[in-house]
């Protein structure tokens, strides 16, 4: 289990290899990569700036991971979340969930993403071509996705 915040990009293949190590009990690995999109409601995005709450982030990511591990038969999991100024096409987040079987791997990765989106202290600010910028609103659909996993509200 590992969680970290990074200004630099990540290498998916290398992160996955390091996470698995020599564990041949792992039969399925589900990964998710979140990326910066180039448009916001049809307007070109210039950059996306990610702010976070450093002292809380790690504690929260570890709580999310521990909960995922308790719910699913995960052999290993990883969360890497980037901060700072990102451009369209850049990677924002990497989640990896390893399990003996694919169903647990998929469910683990989805759970990690849903909880990350509603509990981890990151905030996105979009800057558009006209120089204007605005903080991204939380999506209700994200709250709903997280709440389908249970009854423990943030």
């Amino acid at each position: 289990m590992a969680a970290r915040v990074s200004r630099a990009d990540f290498d998916i293949s290398a992160e996955m290899a390091a996470l698995i190590g020599g564990d041949t009990g792992i039969g399925g690995v589900a990964l998710f990569v979140g990326k910066v999109r180039g448009e916001v409601n049809g307007e070109p995005l210039v950059s996306l700036t990610l702010e976070h709450y450093p002292e809380m982030t790690e504690a929260e990511l570890e709580r999310i991971e521990a909960e995922a591990r308790e719910r699913f038969a995960l052999s290993a999991s990883l969360i890497i979340h980037r901060v700072g100024e990102l451009k369209p096409g850049d990677n924002i987040v990497l989640v990896i969930a390893c399990a003996p079987h694919r169903q647990d791997a998929f469910a683990g990765a989805e759970f990690l993403m849903d909880y990350l989106k509603t509990r981890a202290p990151f905030w996105k600010k979009e800057t558009l071509a006209d120089g204007s910028s605005r903080w991204v609103d939380a999506r209700e659909s994200d709250e709903e996705a997280a709440s389908t996993w249970v009854s423990t509200p943030p």
């Binding site: 709450y53 929260e60 989106k117 905030w123 600010k125 609103d137 994200d142 509200p153």
Partner: protein
């Protein structure tokens, strides 16, 4: 003893648009003794005057963490060392 705790200095932290509207990322102060819950604290912030009146005008849009853990408005502040205010998170 309880009075001492309630009157201890606490660090308040602000993130995203709350940081921008509050005009600061952090401050240290003593909370009034009658601010016992997170809900009390949100009301107290809204009553502090400029720029907090603006920043805390919609407390339902504000999330709070005590010592790096999410809490609800009903949570007791107790011996909190650090209390953070921020909009709903939007990472991922």
């Amino acid at each position: 003893m309880t009075d001492t705790k309630t009157n201890a200095e606490v660090t308040l932290r602000y993130f995203a648009w709350l940081r921008e509207r509050a005009g600061r990322g952090e401050e240290r102060l003593k909370l009034p003794p009658d601010v016992l819950t997170v809900g009390d604290l949100l009301r107290w912030q809204a009553g502090r005057g400029h720029p907090f009146d603006q920043a805390f005008a919609k407390p339902e849009a504000i999330r709070v963490a005590i010592d790096h853990a999410h809490v609800k408005p009903t949570a007791a502040i107790g011996a909190a060392r650090e209390i953070a205010f921020f909009p709903p998170v939007t990472g991922g």
